[in-house]
């Protein structure tokens, strides 16, 4: 475990900085998940490299907490606010509050359905679900028994990834979905859910877990049941342990949406905006399928 | 009673609790304007029948007629509305509400818009409290009242309801003589208003002083009903107990031992105990009397470490001892029987066996573990010795009648093998047969060299049992009285601060 002491270093920087320092707020939807932790790490890196003071909050997946966080952040004379919304609708009010105070807003990861945003940068979660579905179609030749493990029910990512995945599955006639369950993006819970699914289904050909944490949990269960060979498992996010699992032939695939660069690029783009440069209004970063073939080419973060 | 009208009539009432037939085809007749005593041993079913009359409990079978009409109450409210109210044996006050609120609980004076009129409520409460001869602020919280004050509030509460029948279940158990006199005055007045009173008490003298008729129950059965003036003490006791009871108090011929087992020197605690000193000799029963608030009960608990530290010195068998918590007191052979058995004496939700062994878990262990066998033996021994009426040692203590609960406390005390015992109101609510047993046990204990401090508001008991008396007044020892001068007059006079009467 590496410790989080980046923040304290930033504080130091802020103190010796002579000119007025640029302040950016980052309201994260959650930090209880490695994916989003990497987003914030990327943002921190971007801020540190450019001597920006960055304030990070964690909404713990609650839109109302995020609203509170944004209001609290806005008390600090920000130059720019970056928001990773819990929810596209619910964030509108918070963005409007920022608009009232003339603080420019960039949304990342998930777009807002209203309010004025200077730019959005993100992945397309539905597309990512599509990729997972298409991958299973490819390797299983469009035939087989499929399991889907969803994320936290009622959250936007979980909904979108599931939607994208099912778009493909629904039109693949040879696929039979034998189980659709939720494991709250949590590894331990996914293991438990997968154990139960394995009990009920003697034949399973493909499993899609909506994030890598759940994929790794499902992997534990599948491995313990000795059914590693018969099941194709795909996750999402390309976190380090799952890349490791791909190299070790345990996990077949994941989808890289390198969160680190999302966070970093959002800060860089924000700086450009503050410095009066033109910026693109809508940037969708690529989601790439990661398999054993390209696992070593994938760069997910920088030190 | 020919001139009086029958107001309440019960026939063939049976009440069955899980495992217990509390009432077996009993009957009872109550006339207007009479004071009717209901006598019986602990667990005879008195309270149960009263709760049935007041609507607090339902009966299994039988028939109840009130003012000539058949009735069956399903709540106390129904009974109250028809003019029946009850002072319950156990307190039914709400600790964190004020005195006034408790008096008017469920019957608050409200304005037209349904808003509680606090001013009126407090004023009415003051009047009612004054009626029972007390002076307590209506705004005081009930939790800050003494037991006796709380009992008087219960009485005021009952009086505030317009009733034709008032049931008093052991109203005097927690009172001192002063308040008892006041209660009797109230009862006289109620009688004049033609209100019927059902009166339960284990104090025989009260029965003869104020009641007109008496009904006797035994083991849940009706035994007899008669005019009080046509009977006497011995007959009632015989009907209650089922045999003769010759001597209530054992004959004590105590010669003072040279050995002082316990000595308190200059005990001071806050403003309540001011410089108290006394000695307790081996095998002695020392009675400590005092009016309400005199500090005698507090003193005993203080010395047993209930309240932590205090000023002054304690010598046990001549050696200095500092007792700061109950565990230390127990290890030095001191046990206090509290006057508040529900809160300080028993774990009501646990069974008899566990309660008896609670303070002496060490003695039911073998090889460092609790032994079921020893535990059973211990409780069986005490159940036999104290004649505790239980269906088995596994019975939950909360389901015992109060007298039997008190015996459980005694059993627990005896098992700690104490050398010095402080007894606070040891026979409160205990029937006369059981009283005699407890007095006998006290006597036996002292013969084995155990010393007892007896703190009681029951003066005949204090005089009957004590070898020597102290009277406390406002936190000080007002007098020390030797056995030959230990009379009611003397004690009362010292307690009131008037000096002795020769």
């Amino acid at each position: 475990g590496q410790k989080a002491n980046d923040t304290s270093k930033e504080d130091d920087n802020s103190k010796d900085g002579g000119t007025k320092q640029i302040k950016i707020g980052l309201s994260m939807n959650t930090l209880n998940n490695p994916f989003f932790v990497d987003v914030s790490n990327g943002a921190k890196k971007g801020a540190k490299d450019n001597d920006v003071e960055l304030f990070v909050t964690d909404a713990q997946n609650q839109p109302s907490k995020q609203q509170t966080d944004v209001e609290n952040l806005l008390q600090k004379d920000l130059d720019l606010l970056i928001i990773d919304p819990c929810d596209s609708d619910a964030i509108v009010a918070a963005i409007e509050t920022a608009n009232e105070k003339d603080v420019p807003v960039i949304t990342i990861d998930r777009a807002a359905k209203g309010g004025e945003v200077v730019a959005h940068m993100g992945f397309n979660a539905i597309h990512s679900g599509n990729i997972a579905g298409e991958y299973l179609v490819d390797v299983l030749n469009g035939k087989g028994k499929i399991v889907e493990i969803m994320g936290i029910m009622g959250t936007n990512v979980a909904q979108d990834r599931s939607k994208g995945f099912n778009e493909i599955v629904d039109k693949t006639e040879g696929f039979e979905v034998v189980a659709t369950q939720s494991a709250n993006f949590d590894r331990a819970e996914a293991m438990k859910v997968m154990e139960n699914i394995l009990q009920a289904n003697a034949e399973i050909d493909g499993v899609y877990a909506a994030n890598d944490e759940m994929a790794l949990g499902a992997l534990e269960a599948i491995e313990a049941a000795g059914r590693l060979d018969e099941i194709v498992l795909i996750g999402c996010d390309a976190i380090d342990p799952s890349l490791e699992a791909i190299r070790g032939d345990k996990l077949e695939a994941t989808i890289a949406e390198p969160p680190f660069f999302l966070g970093k690029n959002a800060v860089l783009m924000g700086l450009d905006y503050i410095n009066g440069k033109e910026i693109e209004k809508n940037i969708i970063l690529d989601s790439t399928l990661v398999t054993k073939d390209n696992v070593d080419d994938i760069v997910t973060k920088e030190e | 009673m020919a001139d009086k009208k029958l107001i309440l009539e019960l026939e063939n009432i049976t009440k069955i609790f899980p495992g217990v037939k509390a009432l077996d085809n009993v009957k009872l007749e109550i006339y207007e304007g009479e004071v009717h005593a209901l006598c019986g041993e602990n667990g005879a079913g008195k309270s149960t029948l009263m709760k049935i009359i007041s609507g607090a409990q339902e009966y299994t079978s039988g028939n109840m007629r009130y003012q000539g009409k058949n009735v069956k109450f399903s709540s106390t409210k129904e009974a109250q509305e028809l003019g029946i109210s009850m002072i319950y044996q156990e307190f039914n006050l709400i600790p964190h509400l004020t005195v006034a609120e408790n008096i008017f609980l469920g019957r608050y004076p409200v304005s037209k818009r349904g808003i509680i009129d606090w001013k009126k409520m407090n004023q009415d409460a003051i009047d009612l409290i004054a009626k029972v001869g007390m002076n307590i602020s209506p705004k005081k919280l009930v939790k800050d009242l003494s037991v006796a004050e709380a009992q008087m509030i219960e009485i005021s509460k009952c009086l505030s309801i317009n009733s034709k029948v008032i049931i008093m279940d052991e109203p005097t158990a927690a009172l001192t003589d002063e308040e008892i006199e006041c209660l009797f005055d109230i009862i006289e007045n109620l009688k004049k208003e033609n209100i019927a009173i059902i009166y339960i008490s284990h104090r025989m003298n009260e029965i003869f002083r104020i009641t007109d008729r008496v009904t006797i129950f035994r083991d849940g059965k009706f035994i007899n009903s008669m005019l009080t003036k046509d009977t006497d003490h011995d007959e009632i006791v015989r009907l209650m107990v089922g045999s003769d009871l010759t001597n209530l108090y054992p004959k004590r011929d105590y010669v003072r031992s040279k050995e002082v087992v316990f000595e308190a020197k200059n005990i001071v605690y806050k403003n309540s105990i001011k410089d108290v000193s006394f000695k307790l000799y081996k095998g002695e029963i020392l009675g400590i009397a005092g009016l309400l608030g005199s500090g005698n009960i507090l003193l005993s608990k203080l010395l047993a470490g209930y309240y932590g530290d205090y000023d002054g010195e304690v010598l046990i068998k001549g050696k200095k001892a500092k007792i700061k918590n109950p565990a230390q007191a127990l290890s030095k052979g001191i046990f206090v029987v509290s006057d508040d058995r529900k809160n300080e004496g028993l774990v009501l939700v646990r069974n008899v066996k566990e309660n008896i062994s609670l303070a002496s878990l060490k003695s039911i262990m073998s090889n460092g573990l609790l032994s079921d066998k020893k535990d059973m033996e211990m409780s069986k021994k005490e159940i036999d010795k104290l004649n505790i009426k239980v269906s088995s040692p596994h019975q939950i203590v909360g389901n015992l009648s109060g007298g039997n609960q008190q015996k459980v406390v005694f059993g627990k005390m005896l098992e700690t093998n104490p050398e010095i015992i402080f007894l606070n109101e040891p026979t409160r609510g205990i029937d006369i047969g059981a009283k005699a047993e407890i007095y006998n046990i006290m006597h036996e204990l002292t013969k084995q060299g155990i010393s007892i401090v007896l703190i009681t508001s029951d003066l005949p008991e204090l005089i009957g049992m004590s070898d020597r008396g102290l009277v406390m007044r406002e936190g000080e020892v007002a007098a020390s009285i030797s056995k030959d001068k230990l009379t009611q007059e003397n004690v009362l006079s010292y307690a009131a601060g008037a000096g002795g009467v020769e």
Binding site: A4, T7, M28, L31, F55, V56, T57, D58, N61, Q62, P63, S64, Q67, T68, D69, E71, N72, L73, Q75, K76, D77, C86, D87, S88, D89, A90, V92, A93, K113, G114, I152, M153, G154, T155, A158, Q159 | A56, S75, T76, K77, Q80, Y88, N92, L93, I94, P95, H96, L97, E101, L105, G106, R107, Y108, V110, G114, I115, I116, W118, K270, N271
Partner: protein
């Protein structure tokens, strides 16, 4: 004089702790003690505080209500759905309040008729209702955008955010009910001694049912405010609110065993929690570490409270 000061301090323990925290917060950040920020904090707090006011009733009777968070979600969702389909703000408001009350009444009825422990009964209802919300919304938020509706959560009246006004009204009514109605007094007395209350002729079960209904109603009101504020009803709304609300009640000095406490301090309990959230962001505590600080401060707050309490009982002597 000094003693009087100390007495006031200890009598209003929760306020004292809050003031202490306010002073520290003011020292820590310039942005804290500004009119705007304070309004901001109170508006944020109103969500938990309103739920906590209903929870105060429940806890005073010796019960507990874990279902409030789910009730927030269901009433928000149904309210938004109504708005979307009827465009009637009035109807949307009524639906939120009625749905909340029905859920609360359901709690009350199963607890009293079924003789169930409130903890497990409301836990079951919490799970059940949450599932219902998910099915109803199919896991996706329902938008709720209409000026008049959103006013409930975002509007200002006389320069004061509307939720704060609702908060004040709710607590005023709550205070009044507890002090001046027979129902309110029964709430205390049931918590103090249920059996004695029954014997005094009070219909204990009816009072209890009503208490859970009130809690449900206020959770419904909160769902309404939250939805109006966010412009969207979230299927995950209100998760974990039950613990915050209970914490606010206890910080306000109301005893979990019932019978003792008051409603006004509950709002200060909620403010303690809210100010904490606010100041942690203002001084930019690492969000990972903020839980550490938060837990620690809550602990200090209850310790201070307990200390004040023992001082106050000594002063009484």
């Amino acid at each position: 004089m000094k003693k009087l000061g100390l007495k006031l301090l200890t009598k209003y323990r929760t306020v004292s702790v809050l003031v202490l925290i306010l002073i520290i917060a003011t020292c820590l950040s310039n942005s804290f003690l500004t009119f705007n920020n304070l309004l901001n904090v109170i508006r944020q707090v109103s969500i938990i505080a309103i739920i906590a006011s209903g929870m105060t009733f429940v806890i005073l009777t010796g019960g507990i209500d874990l279902s409030v968070g789910s009730i927030v979600a269901i009433s928000g969702a149904l309210s938004a759905y109504t708005l979307l389909n009827t465009n009637s703000v009035v109807l949307a408001i009524i639906v939120a309040l009625i749905v909340g009350s029905i859920c609360g009444a359901f709690n009350g009825i199963i607890i009293t008729k079924g003789n169930l422990p409130p903890f497990i009964a409301t836990l079951a209802v919490m799970t059940f209702v949450r599932g219902f919300v998910l099915v109803f919304t199919n896991g996706s938020p329902i938008a709720a955008r209409m000026k008049a509706y959103n006013f409930i959560g975002k509007g200002y009246l006389f320069g004061i955010p509307f939720p704060i006004i609702i908060l004040i009204v709710v607590f005023a009514i709550g205070f009044f009910i507890l002090k001046y109605t027979a129902f309110g007094r029964s709430v205390f007395s049931i918590g103090g001694n249920r059996e004695a209350t029954r014997l005094s002729g009070i219909n204990v079960k009816r009072v209890e049912t009503l208490v859970y209904t009130i809690s449900g109603l206020l959770a419904g009101l909160t769902g309404l405010i939250l939805t109006a504020r966010l412009g969207s009803a979230q299927p995950t709304a209100g998760k974990g609110y039950e613990l915050d609300a209970i914490a606010a009640v206890i910080l306000g000095g109301t005893s979990l065993s019932g019978g003792q406490g008051a409603i006004i301090p509950t709002v200060f309990g909620a403010l303690i929690l809210g100010v904490l959230d606010n100041i942690l962001v203002l001084i930019d505590v690492n969000p990972f570490a903020s839980d550490i600080v938060k837990g620690f401060v809550i602990l200090l707050a209850v310790l201070a409270d307990s200390k004040f309490k023992s001082v106050s009982s000594k002063l009484d002597e």
